[in-house]
């Protein structure tokens, strides 16, 4: 493996681990804000119980997200120093704005959100929860603006020293052609990921006790999200795809597995095995003209293929092709589960249908897998460039020796599997506990009333 391969493997590994965590916390923070709002409005204990239940999980996931994010913010420099030097003047300020407007907001109010309700009262505590939720979404705004600029760069000039420097308008840099679509698609994905995780936990406990009020409420809320938002996501994804066709057509060729150009309507390959060496899609199962119909809304519209792209400018097709199918397949399954839950709800069997609950448990990780697959499509599809069309990945890496990057990659793999493996185990253990009926307010007796951390409760023998 070359230094570039190792550095790419390291980035892919650390960013994949990291991305799962904000994908969950963006949705979960918003869910907690909704739960607290419902509790403040209705005074119903079940909402307070659910808040207590999910905030413990949120704290663990958030801690992992913070530390894995810190790694990302320095990895641009350790492994991709040439990239940092060249594009720092353009995307550096976007990331600085992320720190200034999002990270501090989340971190500053997190302590109050987790530990502070008896100190600040209900109103301010709700403000803190909302601040954390808003912070996670602002963070998505800036980091996706930076990412979108790398996909569809605009608004910059190239200086004499080789740096990309901002042109007269920052608006042009932030709101690049792909940004609104990527932002919508990603934030909706985060909400859906959370909805399916929450739904799976609710379903798991409904399978054991259909009467558990907390399980019923969280399952119902999650299935509303699935039924209403999954179809919206399919539309958002379609629009994002059309935008990609316009601005990064090569990525779409790889997604579709179109090695050949199709002047009279391109087929949609449901499955197949992309053979980039031979530049053809083996064992393809095609629907004639369907790709042109979807992408151009005309079955006979011509579509160019990878035969129009020099080999050196092609992304690794097999990853893009398959990751795309995984993402889309899961998207339709999620929408399907949402429709099923809607039908069960209309027939009054939302809490009774064990088959639905089992399906919801099985679909619990669907959002996470889909998010990773989608990320692989868009990032791998950008290759072999870091800044699409302008800066090659091969020209972006640090002047490092392979053993240095290999050793750090091994260290990251070891530590991440140990640390985040343990973290996922703790999260699953928290999820395995049924939501209990305290029926008290968030500032009331049970949970954490004995401490800011559950130490005394643990000492007293209560499992965490």
């Amino acid at each position: 493996m070359t230094v570039i391969d190792l550095a790419r493997a390291q980035f892919a590994f650390t960013v994949s681990f990291h991305f799962l965590l904000p994908a969950f916390t963006i949705g979960l923070a918003a869910y907690l804000a909704v739960l607290e709002a419902l509790w403040l409005r209705t005074g119903r204990g079940v909402y307070a119980n659910l808040y207590r239940y999910w905030v413990k999980i949120f704290a663990v996931v958030f801690a992992m997200g913070v530390v894995s994010g810190l790694v990302m913010s320095y990895q641009f420099g350790t492994n991709w120093s040439v990239f940092s030097d060249k594009v720092g003047p353009v995307i550096g300020p976007l990331m600085a704005y992320e720190v200034l407007t999002a990270f501090f907001l989340e971190a500053g109010f997190l302590g109050v959100m987790l530990f502070g309700i008896t100190r600040v009262g209900r109103g301010l505590h709700f403000v803190a929860t909302c601040a954390v939720a808003v912070g996670t979404t602002i963070s998505a705004f800036w980091i996706l603006a930076a990412n979108s600029w790398m996909q569809t760069p605009a608004g910059c000039e190239i200086a004499a020293n080789g740096q990309f420097v901002p042109g007269p308008s920052w608006w042009a840099i932030i709101f690049t052609a792909s940004f609104p679509y990527r932002l919508a698609h990603t934030v909706i994905a985060a909400f859906l990921t959370t909805a399916f995780a929450v739904g799976a936990v609710g379903a798991w406990h409904l399978l054991r006790d259909r009467a558990n009020p907390g399980a019923r409420t969280m399952f119902s809320m999650a299935m509303w999200m699935a039924a209403l938002v999954a179809p919206v996501q399919i539309v958002a994804g379609d629009l994002h795809g059309l935008n990609t066709l316009e601005h990064q057509p090569v990525k779409v060729m790889a997604m579709e597995g179109h090695f050949q150009s199709h002047p009279h309507g391109a087929p949609l390959a449901l499955f197949g095995w992309p053979d980039q060496q031979a530049q053809r899609l083996r064992y393809a199962v095609d629907i004639p003209k369907a790709s042109s119909l979807i992408l151009r809304h005309d079955p006979d519209a011509p579509l160019r293929g990878l035969d129009t792209v020099p080999r050196a400018d092609q992304p690794p097709v097999i990853i893009v092709f398959w990751a795309f199918r995984v993402m889309v397949g899961l998207g339709f399954l999620m929408a399907g589960l949402g429709l099923w839950s809607l039908a069960a709800r209309l027939r009054g069997r939302l809490y009774e249908s064990a088959a639905l609950h089992r399906a919801a448990v099985a679909m619990g990780p669907a959002g996470f897998v889909a998010v990773l697959a989608g990320w692989a499509v868009t990032e791998t599809g950008r290759q072999p460039f870091t800044v699409y069309g302008l800066l090659r990945t091969a020209d972006s890496a640090s002047p490092l020796a392979a053993p240095a990057v290999g050793a750090s990659l091994a260290a990251f793999v070891l530590v991440y599997f140990a640390v985040f493996g343990a973290g996922i185990w703790y999260v699953l253990r928290l999820m395995a506990k049924p939501p209990e009926a305290h029926e008290a307010g968030l500032d009331g007796r049970p949970i954490r009333s004995a401490g800011i951390t559950p130490a005394p409760a643990l000492a007293a023998g209560e499992p965490a």
Binding site: V60, M64, V67, S68, L70, S73, Y74, F76, G77, T78, S81, V82, S84, D85, G88, P89, G92, P93, M95, A96, V99, L100, T101, F104, E106, A107, G108, L110, G111, V112, F115, T118, R119, V120, A159, N161, G162, V165, P166, P168, W170, S398, P399, L400, A401, A404, S408, F412, V415, V419, A422, Y426, R429, L430, S449, G451, I452, T453, A455, A464
Partner: protein, 332 residues
């Protein structure tokens, strides 16, 4: 001459100071954690920083992100030059960061997560101190890239600065515990602070003398007449602050030892500034050579000018919410 680049050097400097001041004491508690008894002592120490550590660490992201944005060339040279310490610091911060939550979630393995918290805090502090030493002793630059070897950073001098920062953070941690805790734990914190204060003074002295010997420019910067009349105030003030620090310890004050320890840090950072200014990589790259274009710096300055005061306000509020002594049973 004040231009955008000077202002941004000031903002990054402020972020570094804010980071050292705030994450310094919670890393310091990690460094001292192994000396505390398992049970209420450790739980109390942890509770005293649990609501604020995350915000403290954000200043490190601000420093790194700000450097990338305002001085991309410096970011691109320093991080590869300090590859091993940087990776070690990041992994150490991962370990100690998750320990805050994990130790409460797993009573059976709490000792293990406590060990991760201790080791992570220690390694992070050491790596940061080594980074400082490596910058001061100079790093090889060719064109727009680092041109040295992978172990250039490892010298007796950088190990000295690494040890110095570990001691300094331990002192801040001890003083934080004096401020925030009571009883037996506070007594131990007084004992730690007495030892760490003296050790830090020795470390500052050793680093200062060693720095003078590193390069002639440091020697001239500090000791050439008449500048020495101004620069000599820094070591003198350090001695005065040390005396005041020990007086505060003797009088068993709550807050004062922490403030005097911060003053010691402030003077050490001022000394660094005198040595380095106006370079971002000492003797190699000035802040103007590393600067991003004015359009980048101006755009960010708008955000920083608006947001930094807001951030300081709500951070201050969050500290205010958790004011007062903390028990091992928490804030009730």
């Amino acid at each position: 001459m004040i231009d955008l680049t000077v202002i941004w050097a000031g903002i990054i400097g402020f972020a570094v100071v804010a980071y050292v001041v705030m994450d310094g004491f919670d890393l310091g508690i990690g460094i001292l954690f192994g000396l505390l008894k398992a049970g209420p002592q450790r739980d109390t120490a942890m509770n005293s920083i649990a609501p604020v550590w995350d915000g403290n660490e954000t200043w490190l992201v601000m420093g790194g992100g700000g450097l990338l944005a305002a001085f991309p060339l410096a970011y691109a040279i320093i991080l590869p030059a300090l590859y091993a310490p940087m990776i070690a610091m990041l992994l150490a911060l991962v370990l100690r960061g998750v320990a805050f939550e994990f130790r409460w979630r797993d009573a059976r393995h709490r000792a293990g997560w406590d060990a991760a918290f201790i080791a992570g805090s220690l390694v992070a502090a050491l790596a940061q101190g080594i980074t400082l030493g490596a910058l001061l002793q100079g790093i090889a630059v060719a064109g727009r890239a680092y041109a040295g070897g992978w172990w250039d950073w490892l010298t007796p001098f950088s190990l000295l600065t690494g040890a110095g920062l570990v001691i300094g953070y331990a002192l801040l941690g001890a003083c934080w515990l004096i401020w925030k805790t009571e009883g037996e734990l506070r007594e131990r914190a007084f004992a730690f602070a007495r030892v760490a204060g003296l050790a830090l003074l020795l470390a500052i002295g050793a680093v200062s003398l060693a720095t003078l010997g590193l390069e002639a420019r440091y020697y001239r910067r500090w000791l050439a007449f008449p500048g020495v009349l101004a620069t000599a105030q820094v070591p003198l003030a350090t001695l005065v602050v040390t005396v005041l620090f020990y007086r505060a310890l003797r009088l068993r004050k709550d807050v004062q030892p922490f403030l005097w320890a911060l003053a010691l840090f402030g003077l050490a950072i001022l000394g660094l500034g005198i040595s380095i200014w106006p370079d971002v990589i000492p003797a190699r790259v000035t802040i103007w050579e590393a600067a991003a274009p004015a359009r980048s710096q101006a755009f960010m300055l708008v955000g920083a000018a608006v947001m930094v005061p807001v951030i300081l306000a709500y951070t201050g509020w969050a500290y205010w919410v958790f004011r007062g002594k903390v028990g091992h049973e928490g804030y009730h």
